[in-house]
């Protein structure tokens, strides 16, 4: 039997293990103390990521509260993902990528029309994935908030120039997140094909939850 390198080092037994196809949404509840590992199977695949407090989903991930609390825009090992009420939701306990993004937001049909032109209107987008997953769970457009982009690279230059550039991830790289409260995770496996966030080729990712 070949060893599954993607599960190495998890803190407990695997209780959920799923491949999210390219371009697809994913929703899963993670309980306090459990660890979610996201595996970038083929490399440089942006994983757009929202969090809601399971017990009260008007409390949700806030990029601004997260950035302010650590006075840094990049998410690294030790970064705490905070809610709009300033509470810790998940902690990045390990990652084999230097840093992840939380300022770049999620692609949408509407913002694609600004960034690339109205010819992109029919293309699939992260906001449509987020909406589809949230609608099934009783949430709607008001609940669309700021997000994390794992495995995505958005530097800010000294002159303020900001943009999504070539990724710094690679096949098999991972990020581990320990839930600090019971959370509902909503993911869009990003379908964007107009910038380097997915290497112009959306690919599957693997979600592993350990107790």
């Amino acid at each position: 039997m070949t060893q599954d390198l993607h599960v190495a080092g998890l803190p407990g037994p695997v209780i959920h293990d799923e491949i999210v196809p390219a371009r697809a949404p994913w929703l899963h509840r993670v309980k306090a103390g459990q660890t979610l590992r996201v595996v970038d199977l083929e490399g440089n695949q942006a994983v757009d990521f929202l969090l809601y407090t399971t017990a009260d989903d008007a409390e949700r991930y806030s990029a601004q509260d997260t950035i302010a609390a650590q006075a840094n825009i990049f998410l690294r090992t030790g970064s705490v993902l905070r809610s709009n009420e300033g509470r810790p939701m998940m902690t990045i306990t390990a990652t084999s990528v230097d840093y992840h993004d939380t300022i770049g937001g999620a692609c949408s049909c509407e913002s694609n029309s600004l960034r690339y032109g109205h010819h992109t209107k029919a293309q699939h987008s992260c906001v449509d994935n987020f909406l589809e997953a949230n609608l099934r769970d009783g949430r709607g457009k008001r609940d669309m908030v700021s997000n994390v982009n794992f495995f995505m690279n958005v530097p800010v230059e000294p002159d303020g120039a900001l943009g999504i550039v070539d990724g710094i991830s690679a096949p098999g790289l991972t990020v581990d997140l320990r839930a600090e409260m019971d959370v509902t995770v909503v993911v869009s496996n990003c379908p964007q094909i107009n910038n380097p966030c997915n290497g112009f080729n959306p690919t599957p990712v693997r979600m592993i939850v350990a107790a």
């Binding site: 990029a63 601004q64 509260d65 009420e85 840093y99 937001g105 509407e110 694609n112 900001l162 943009g163």
Partner: protein
């Protein structure tokens, strides 16, 4: 005050307050002696000084100019912006910086909605220190820094102020979105660290927003979330006047292909 035992005495007492002037208050009807050339007194729509630690919210028609003045150099205007006709459409900070390829909004920058439309343009900015990254202080952050962050205390937090302002328009916790902080700035270093620009600055710095849609704006004026000083914030003046809807040749509208398409999307919404 035991002399107010009957309603008539209470009425006299209440009415005796009429005409009281304090530093932070609205002026009704609005009156201002420093309107720009070409703006007449009949065009004036709103004149209010927002208290240190206070908030305000307002409907703005398309074309309205909203001028904010940091009267004493230590205001921090945390701003929410909604499409008044459909408040599920609102300011999207990530799209605002990403679409315009620029982390630092200033003169000529657009505030973009999550529907690919321009909510407002920054028509004029002589401050240049604004913050799209750190967002509003919250009850927890103010409690850590000041010992208390409640609306009912002496150190109200910006998020709860924004919640109250949004609630006055029927909106709630799900509607309070990431904000932009005006007058307090940040710069992002190469390692991602956030360097704040908190002043205090010269008195009287100003910024003029041009409403490109029918808007609800909500403003909180509380210390920046990363301000390390003891509680420090000064009043913020808001003045709004009627103005023309942006024309096809407007230099902000045509400055970049992304901005032009944002205006095209907004104009499409009003093509009825």
């Amino acid at each position: 005050m035991s002399a107010l035992a009957d309603p008539n005495a209470a009425r006299e007492h209440a009415r005796a307050m009429a005409g009281t002037v304090v530093e932070a208050m609205p002026t009704l009807p609005p009156r201002a002696d420093d309107l720009p050339a070409g703006v007449g007194p009949d065009d004036l729509l709103w004149e209010e000084t927002i208290a240190a630690g206070g908030y305000a919210s307002r409907l703005l028609a398309r074309g309205t100019r909203l001028r904010l003045i940091d009267l004493k150099g230590d205001a921090c205007a945390s701003l929410l912006v909604f499409n008044a006709a459909m408040p599920t459409e609102r300011l999207n900070i990530a799209d605002t910086v990403k679409v315009q390829w620029d982390a630092y909004p200033t003169t000529g920058s657009l505030l973009l909605s999550d529907m690919g439309r321009v909510l407002a343009s920054i028509e004029q900015d002589d401050a240049g220190t604004h913050d799209a990254f750190c967002g509003a202080s919250n009850e927890a952050s103010n409690r850590r820094h000041y010992g208390d962050g409640r609306n009912s205390g002496d150190h109200p937090n910006a998020r709860d102020r924004l919640l109250l302002g949004a609630a006055k328009h029927g909106l709630g916790r799900r509607d309070v979105h990431p904000c932009i902080n005006l007058f307090k700035g940040v710069r992002i270093e190469a390692d991602g660290s956030v360097k704040t620009q908190l002043g205090p600055f010269a008195a009287g710095r100003s910024l003029v927003l041009r409403a490109e849609m029918e808007l609800i704006v909500v403003i909180a004026n509380c210390p920046h979330v990363l301000d390390p000083r003891p509680w420090s914030v000064t009043p913020l003046r808001a003045t709004a006047w009627r103005g023309p809807i942006t024309g096809e040749d407007d230099p902000i509208r045509t400055a970049t292909p992304e901005r032009l398409r944002a205006f095209l999307n907004t104009e499409d919404l009003y093509r009825r």
